[in-house]
Every structure is written in structure tokens, then in C-alpha cells.
């Protein structure tokens, strides 16, 4: 055995032949089937031990010794087990497993080393606690997802077009029209994403509709459509997987208030705090929280005027619905105005960007407004936070969808325009040829194609939509950054430096330093992502812009939070809220999916721009591919699959499956409830027995009442069964614990004459069976010691 230890680790992995061979040869005769099986079992056990050894609460030295022993045992006998025919194969299998485990471990090491910004986030965490850090972790996760989406879009759509497609200026859709060429390079025009920006890879209109491009016959239109759909598919998969992982760790769900004090005592401290000021705040908030609970425990809740409270809540909700409606109408109005503006040319900067400014302002002003109105409602902070989040969500959603509807109006107008322009451009082309042949005086010569800049261009609604989304995103970024700069940084500077010459203490009093608004920031992030999802199909460059934005956001906000914010005064953790934000993200994903799918399915693509130009519907590209690229039988297969006769049964089957799964999960939930109730009942019984009080369970009470009266009966037999004899009116005396024939525990606490102080006397025999809940400190009963 010693020689095995001395071998270096790498050699241990390989199947060492000589040593185990000789030892196994000797044992070969003495091993029988049963012994082999037993040995195999032992080896498996040792292997399991090695895998789980880090989960055992042992001292490290003990773990190391056990690990070594287990590894030696496994190595020694693994060779012995691979006997007979399968020996070589078994040894090979063992070696491959070892190599696989080693590879997995190295890969894990590599993966953890790759996670960015770990140190930065930990620093924020130690200063501000885990709730603020959870925002940054969420930001990092979003960054990862966007990076993958960017990789797809860039690699499969942009790069092929740039490398293998036609260059700028060769065809009409890739060229700036003659009329715009003078201003195409102006900064203001570029900032509006017109001019050269509009006719670049950033937007849908640039892409050519050639079926295959380049040597590799890359099918760009198909790839464009697939990437668009794949974006949603990938995002959906990632969000659901993360939600499932979070739900897993959620742990049990105790009812609110079941273990109030115990939890406050053992789980309130945030072990990640490393900063003295945060620690002080945390101490203060824990103390306050204890005091509040103590007061709650001692006093009955004052029965406030419940009618007044209800009225105030209804009033508050009414006001908020009014403001939501108002903001929706405002956006609609502004979009209509921007359509009028589109026809004029002399626009001030404000008028050009009015829509984006108004939307961002609404997002800034309304949430604090909601918070002030919510003061009327007087809810517990955690519930109030949920209401606040719900309202902000409704606000953003309403705004986004109003914006979308207004955009649709615009799209329809453009579609109408298109028809007229199509005719006009064909006419212009004919004229051009006629003029040319007239000039050259030769009708047989084919005229050179018209200069791309001169071709009459269609309105290209997809690019217009893409531009709108990009402008919205950019203005959103600008507003966010400006808010942080002014709302947090300038405020901090003013408070710090003006404090020397101001009447009241700025730091403690009115403005003071800002706190980090977690929910506002997270919602902003979620909605930003929704806009990206909606706009990415029409503006492939949008994902790249978002990646840059998230990257800079991370650094900027980390700096801002460390430099200008103070830790929250009232630290309460909405601990399950991680899944809440993921749920929001999922909802937004679906809502962003809808417009895109609708446009792909129903609206006809523009006739002269984008990868789908010339087709009736965008998804015709798929039909084309099936017809031309795939072998014939696949085409027939798909046509069968698309048959309604097949689809309807499939949908029916899925509905049935959902129904089945639903009922199975209901059944599990019910059995869970039953088990919980049983446990609860057992606990209550134990408690009541200890406190010498009546059983609070009605069933148990009735059962007890049916039992024979002990004081009347002859000396009790050891086994008592509840007899369904009708009994005269029973006094509570008998029921106080003795009558319960389930009782095994004889030592009951004697009724404590003084209601102050904890029970310090040893449990003694029951002196008298009089009634009365003893000094029992059941919930809310009896005066607590003061």
C-alpha cells in the first residue's frame, strides 16, 4: 500500500498494472461471486464518500485522512474487480472516468476565473449589503446574455454582409439618395441616425435580398430571419433556466410570522458586511426591528378606523390610475405630433427629440409621484414595495405599448405610401431608358444602370422603426447617466461642500446623500432589455449598442454608488425578489415577442430595402429554402406537417399534457399541505402539553371529551382507547393533559405561580388539576413578563 502513496498523482490516474496484478492474482482463487459483489459495493461507497467529503462537518485533518484512505482503498481494489473478460474494458472505463472528472474540475476552475468584476461587486457588497449587490449581479448576468446575442447577430448577419455582400454605394438601398447627400455627414444628422448612419449595417434597410452571397453560398435572408427568431429563443431558454435555478434554492416556505423572533435573531445579520458604517446601520436597524416586534407583541393592534383606511386606499388607487391614463395619453399625443413634424423641415432640437424626452421624463417623474400617493395607503413596507413595483411596471408597460401603437400607425401610413412610390420608381426607370436611348440615337444599346443615388427610394418602414428604437434607447441611456450625474453626484458635492456655510446640517437634514434605488434601477434595466428585444430585428446594430451600454453602466454605476451613495437606513431584504425580477423579464420577453412576430407574419416587407424585399411575406424565405435547398422529401414532409389535420391534434395533445401536469402538481401540493398540517398539529400538541393548556385543535378536543373521566374511573389501565360513550358535561379540569391517552411524557412543567421570569423550576408532578391556562405564553395570551 505504501508504494501506491509514493507514486505521484498523475501516475495514480493511470492503470498501474504490475502491483495490483500480483496482488490480485493471489486473491483470485479466494474471491467468490458474493465477495466480489460486496467488494464492489464497498468500492462504490468509498467513491461516494470521496465525492461528498466536502459536505461533511468534520475537521479538515479528519477529512484529509479519510480522503486518503478512501482513495487508496479504491485504487487498490478497483484493479482487483476488473476480472475476467471485461477486465481491460473495465480498467479503461475507470481511467476515462478519472480523466473526465479531472477535466471537469479544470474546466470549473477556468470558468470561475473568467467571471468578470467579481472583486468590484464584492466591494460594493461589503459596503452596502447584499441587496444592492444583487442589482450588480443582475447587471452582469444581463451583460453576459447580451454578449451572446451580440455574438449571434454580429457573426451570422453583419459580418457576412460586410465581407461577402456588395459594398456601399453599389445598389440603391446601400446609397445615400442624391437629395440627402449634402447633409449626410453633418453631426446633427448623424445624431438622428439619418445620413450615413441610416444606410449602414446598423439598420435593416442595408441588407441585400440576394438568396446566396459569396463563395460559400451563405444564405443571408434565411440567416437574418433565423437569428431574429433565435434571439428570442435563446433569451427565453436562459431566463427560464435561471428562474428554475433560483426557485430551487428557495428552500421551505414558512408562513409569515411563524418564527418571527427566532428568525430575527439568527438570520438578520448580513455576513457580507465589511464596512464599519454599514455595520452600524445594520445594528441600528436590527435593534429597531426588535423593538417594533416587541411592541407589536405586547399591544393589541389599535383598531383604526377601517373605513377611513379603505377609503384612502381606494382614493390612492384612483389617483394612480388617473396618472397612468394621463401619461398614456400624453405619449399618444406626442407621437401624433412627431408625425406632423416629420413633414416639416425647420425643427428645433427639442421638437426633433420631443418623443424620447417626454418618455424618459415620465419614467423619472412618475415613480416618486406614486410613492407620495402611496403614503395614503399605510401598508407594511414590504407590501408597499410590491405595490410600487407593480405600478411602475404598469407605467412603463403602458408607455411602451402606446409608443408601439403609435408606431404602427406610422408604419401603415408608410405602407400606403409605398404603393405610390413603387409605381413612380418604375415609371422613372422607363423614362430614364427612353431618354438614354434617345440621346445615344441607338435603340439597341443597353443603357448603363441608373446611378444608385438617383433611384427613387421607397419609404422603407422597417428602417424607420429601427431608427425609432435606436433613438429611444440612446435617449434612455443619456437620461439615466445624466440622472446619476446630477441626482447623485452633484447632490453629494453640494451637500459636502456647501455644508460649511449653510444654516442647517445638510448631511443629516434635507438633501443629505442619496440612497441607491434598487427597484428603480432594476426595472429600468428590464425595460431597456425589452426595447432591445423589440428593436433588434429591425436594427441589428442595436444589440451592439446595448452591450456597450451595459459595459459602461457597470463601471459608471459602481463608481457612482461607492462615491456618492450611503447605505440604506432601513435595511429589509425582499429576499425572494430575485425571481420576481426574472418573472418581470420573462413577461417583458413575451410582450416584446408579440409585435415582432406579428410583423413577420402579416406585414409585407418593403419592396426595395432589406433582406426580404420582393417577397410577399417575410417568412416566405423559409418556404423558399425548403423548396430549393433541402431534398425533395423534406419538402413533402414539411407540407404534411403544416397540414391542419395534423396540427390540430398536436395542439390538442399539448393541451391535454398541460392539463395532466397541472393536476399532478395540484396533487403534490395537496399532499404537501397535508404533511405540513400533520407536522403543525404534532408541534401544537407538544406545545400545549408542555404548557398545560387545552388542546386548541377542535378534533382533539372532541376526542378528549369522549374519553372516560379519569377521576371517576377505577385505577387506570395502561392502555386507554377513546370510547364513544356519551359523557356528562366535562370540566376542563380533567382535560388538562391527563386525559390524553397519547401522552407518554410525564414530566410536565408545574403551573408557575409567578407570571414573571422564565420557568426555572424543574418539572414536577402535577399537584392539582385545576383549570386555567398556566403561565402559558401562547401567542398573545397572558401578560408577558415586564
Amino acid at each position: 500500500m505504501e508504494c501506491l502513496c509514493a507514486i505521484s498523482h498523475d501516475q495514480l490516474y493511470s492503470y498501474s498494472s504490475s502491483d495490483s496484478n500480483s496482488s490480485s492474482d493471489e486473491e483470485e482463487e479466494s474471491m467468490s461471486e458474493g465477495e466480489m459483489a460486496r467488494l464492489m459495493e464497498e468500492v462504490e461507497e468509498k467513491k461516494k464518500l470521496i465525492a461528498n467529503i466536502r459536505n461533511k462537518p468534520w475537521r479538515m485533518k479528519r477529512r484529509l485522512t479519510h480522503l486518503k484512505e478512501a482513495q487508496e482503498f479504491v485504487d487498490k481494489f478497483e484493479g482487483a474487480l476488473g476480472k475476467g473478460k471485461g477486465r481491460k474494458w473495465y480498467a479503461y472505463k475507470v481511467m476515462m472516468t478519472k480523466k473526465w472528472i479531472k477535466f471537469q474540475r479544470d474546466f470549473e476552475n477556468f470558468r470561475t476565473a473568467c467571471i468578470p468584476w467579481e472583486r468590484k461587486i464584492k466591494e460594493v457588497e461589503s459596503h452596502f449589503g447584499s441587496s444592492v449587490a444583487s442589482y450588480f449581479i443582475f447587471l452582469r448576468w444581463m451583460y453576459g446574455m447580451n454578449l451572446v446575442l451580440f455574438g449571434f447577430t454580429f457573426g451570422l448577419v453583419v459580418i457576412p454582409e460586410v465581407l461577402m455582400g456588395l459594398p456601399y454605394g453599389s445598389i440603391p438601398r446601400k446609397t445615400v439618395p442624391r437629395a440627402e447627400q449634402d447633409t449626410a455627414q453633418d453631426y446633427s444628422v448623424l445624431m438622428d441616425f439619418n445620413g450615413y448612419c441610416k444606410y449602414s449595417v446598423l439598420f435593416y434597410g442595408y441588407y441585400n435580398n440576394q438568396r446566396t452571397i459569396g463563395l460559400l453560398k451563405f444564405r443571408l435572408p434565411l440567416s437574418y430571419l433565423m437569428v431574429g427568431i433565435g434571439t428570442f429563443g435563446y433569451s427565453l431558454m436562459v431566463v427560464i433556466r435561471t428562474m428554475a435555478k433560483n426557485a430551487d434554492v428557495g428552500g421551505g416556505d414558512g408562513e409569515e410570522g411563524e418564527f418571527t423572533f427566532a428568525w430575527k435573531m439568527f438570520t438578520s445579520w448580513d455576513y457580507l458586511i465589511g464596512n464599519a458604517e454599514t455595520a452600524d446601520n445594520k445594528y441600528a436597524s436590527i435593534t429597531t426591528s426588535f423593538k417594533e416586534s416587541i411592541v407589536d407583541e405586547q399591544e393589541n393592534q389599535k383598531d383604526e378606523n377601517i373605513h377611513l383606511r379603505r377609503f384612502l386606499r381606494v382614493l390612492a388607487n384612483f389617483l394612480i390610475i388617473c396618472s397612468l391614463g394621463g401619461s398614456g395619453y400624453l405619449i399618444y399625443f406626442v407621437v401624433k405630433r412627431s408625425q406632423e413634424f416629420a413633414n416639416r423641415d425647420d425643427l428645433s432640437w427639442y421638437e426633433k427629440n420631443e418623443l424620447e424626452i417626454i418618455m424618459s421624463l415620465l419614467g423619472l417623474v412618475c415613480p416618486p409621484l406614486f410613492e407620495t400617493i402611496a403614503e395614503l395607503e399605510d401598508y407594511h413596507p414590504r407590501i408597499a414595495l410590491k405595490w410600487q413595483l407593480g405600478r411602475i411596471f404598469a407605467l412603463f408597460l403602458g408607455n411602451l405599448y402606446t409608443f408601439l401603437f403609435a408606431l404602427f400607425d406610422e408604419v401603415n401610413t408608410k405602407l400606403d405610401e409605398e404603393q405610390a412610390i413603387k409605381n413612380a420608381s418604375i415609371w422613372a426607370m422607363k423614362e430614364y431608358y427612353a431618354n438614354y436611348s434617345r440621346l445615344v440615337n441607338d435603340t439597341m444599346v443597353t443603357p448603363p444602370p441608373m446611378d444608385p443615388a438617383d433611384v427613387i427610394r421607397g419609404p422603407c418602414w422597417e428602417t424607420a422603426v429601427g431608427i425609432e428604437f435606436v433613438k429611444l434607447t440612446v435617449s434612455d441611456i443619456q437620461v439615466t447617466y445624466l440622472t446619476i450625474l446630477i441626482g447623485d453626484f452633484a447632490r453629494a458635492v453640494i451637500v459636502r461642500f456647501l455644508n460649511y456655510c449653510w444654516c442647517w446640517d445638510l448631511e443629516a437634514g434635507f438633501p443629505s446623500y442619496g440612497e441607491f434605488d434598487i427597484s428603480g434601477n432594476v426595472l429600468g434595466l428590464v425595460f431597456n432589455q425589452g426595447m432591445i428585444w423589440m428593436g433588434a430585428f429591425y436594427a441589428p446594430g442595436l444589440v451592439g449598442i446595448n452591450v456597450l451600454r451595459l459595459l459602461s453602466s457597470m463601471y459608471y454605476q459602481c463608481w457612482a454608488v461607492m462615491a456618492t451613495n450611503v447605505p440604506h437606513e432601513r435595511v429589509f431584504k425582499a429576499s425572494k425578489s430575485n425571481n420576481f425580477y426574472m418573472g418581470l423579464l420573462l413577461l417583458i420577453l413575451f410582450l416584446s415577442l408579440l409585435p415582432v412576430v406579428y410583423t413577420i407574419m402579416t406585414l409585407p416587407p418593403s419592396f426595395d430595402c432589406g433582406p426580404f424585399s420582393g417577397k410577399q411575406k417575410m417568412f416566405d424565405v423559409i418556404m423558399e429554402t425548403i423548396d430549393l435547398d433541402l431534398p425533395a422529401f423534406m419538402g413533402t414532409l414539411f407540407s404534411y406537417a403544416a397540414n391542419p389535420g395534423l396540427i390540430i391534434p398536436a395542439v390538442l395533445l399539448m393541451v391535454l399534457a398541460i392539463y395532466y401536469l397541472n393536476s399532478v402538481s395540484e396533487a403534490y401540493k395537496n399532499s404537501n399541505m397535508e404533511l405540513k398540517k400533520k407536522m403543525q398539529m404534532a408541534r401544537d400538541e407538544e406545545k400545549n402539553r408542555r404548557n398545560n393548556t387545552d388542546s386548541t385543535n377542535q378534533v382533539m378536543k372532541d376526542l378528549e371529551d369522549l374519553l372516560p373521566n379519569r377521576s371517576l374511573a377505577p385505577p387506570p389501565e395502561p392502555e386507554k382507547k377513546p370510547e364513544p360513550e356519551p359523557k356528562p358535561a366535562k370540566t376542563k379540569a380533567r382535560s388538562a393533559g391527563n386525559g390524553v391517552n397519547l401522552q407518554k411524557d410525564v414530566s410536565l412543567a408545574s403551573p408557575n405561580p409567578n407570571a414573571r421570569g422564565p420557568v426555572s423550576q424543574p418539572p414536577g408532578p402535577r399537584g392539582h388539576g385545576p383549570p386555567g391556562p398556566g403561565p402559558g405564553r401562547g401567542r398573545g395570551r397572558g401578560a408577558p413578563p415586564r
Binding site: M60, K264, T267, I294
Partner: protein, 182 residues
């Protein structure tokens, strides 16, 4: 494996990786931090596993533990001599149990040991009083302290012995939403 470090043999690193939740890089970093606490005491070369212990006072000065009200208890729980002097094995053990990837059950076991001040395998009212005073820095009045401790025991105690055994503690903690970070 490519990197030339002489602190541990490869075998030792593999063994540590099996026994803790850390990766190779993290173990080396831990050793760096351990050494930082007492550079003259802790050698760079750990290949022959020297038996060095760093005293409690140096360990609780680590920024991660400095603000924690239970820092002495945590360190004492993981030390072999019970006084808080940690060898490197204990040091790694402590951080492995407290790290993100360690499971809830393991944390529960150690949490119980940490809160059990008098080490009698029960959390009695005295232990609770000490916990509470550490948490609130003595801001509560004695009556309030007694009330809170009584209520906590009443809530969690299942077998009626007026103190919390491990089973009681585990049952109570397993339902708590705040026990883990996520």
C-alpha cells in the same frame, strides 16, 4: 500543471480541492491571505504541512470578519483547540463552510455550533441572551432581552426542554427565507 508554485504539492492541492468547495486558484489565494496575517509566522512552503497556528486576534482583524458581531465565535468554532487559533487546515475549512457554494445543511450545522456559546450542544437561554446582546450592541433593556429570548425559545422549541436542540434549530432555520443570500 503549468504554474510553478512551491507552496503546495499537486497532491495536496488536489486533496484540498476534494475536501473543500474551492478551486485551485482560490486555495492558493487563501494561503496568501493566511500568510498576510502573520508573515513571520507562516512559511511560504507548505509542502510538508507544518503545524503553525495563527492566533485569534490576528484572524479577527481580517476585513471580512472585522465587522461581524460573531467573529470570535466563528473562529473559535473552527479552531481545533477551541480558543480560536487556526491552523491553515482550519482556516480553509472555515471559509469553505461559509462560502457561497456550500450547502444549506452544512451551514446549519456550523451555525448551530457558532450560536452555542457554552458548547453544551444546546442553545439555551443564556446563549440566546448573548447572541441578542451582540446583535443589538446592548441597546435593549434587560426586560426586552428576556422577552425576546423567551419568545424565540417558545417559537422554536419542539421537545419542550426550554432550550433549542439541533433538531429544533434545523427545523426553524430550514423554513427561513433569509438564511441564504438568494
Amino acid at each position: 500543471m503549468g504554474n510553478k508554485q512551491t507552496t503546495f504539492t499537486d497532491e495536496q492541492l488536489e486533496a484540498y480541492q476534494d475536501c473543500t468547495f474551492f478551486t485551485r486558484k482560490e486555495i492558493l489565494r487563501l494561503h496568501g491571505r493566511y500568510r498576510e496575517l502573520a508573515p513571520h509566522l507562516v512559511p511560504l512552503d507548505y509542502t510538508n504541512s507544518p503545524d503553525i497556528r495563527v492566533p485569534l486576534s490576528l484572524i479577527v482583524s481580517m476585513p471580512e470578519l472585522k465587522e461581524n458581531p460573531f467573529r470570535e465565535r466563528i473562529v473559535a468554532t473552527f479552531s481545533e483547540d477551541g480558543q480560536g487559533n487556526l491552523s491553515f487546515n482550519d482556516f480553509v475549512d472555515m471559509f469553505s463552510a461559509l462560502c457561497e457554494t456550500s450547502p444549506r445543511e452544512l451551514k446549519t450545522i456550523y451555525a448551530f455550533k457558532i450560536y452555542d456559546f457554552n458548547r453544551d450542544s444546546f442553545i439555551c437561554k443564556e446563549d440566546l441572551k448573548q447572541t441578542l446582546n451582540k446583535l443589538t450592541k446592548g441597546e435593549l433593556t434587560p426586560e426586552e432581552v428576556t422577552l425576546v429570548c423567551d419568545k424565540a425559545v417558545e417559537e422554536a422549541d419542539l421537545d419542550g426542554d426550554n432550550k433549542l436542540s439541533f433538531a429544533d434549530f434545523e427545523n426553524m432555520i430550514s423554513k427561513a427565507p433569509d438564511f441564504l443570500r438568494y
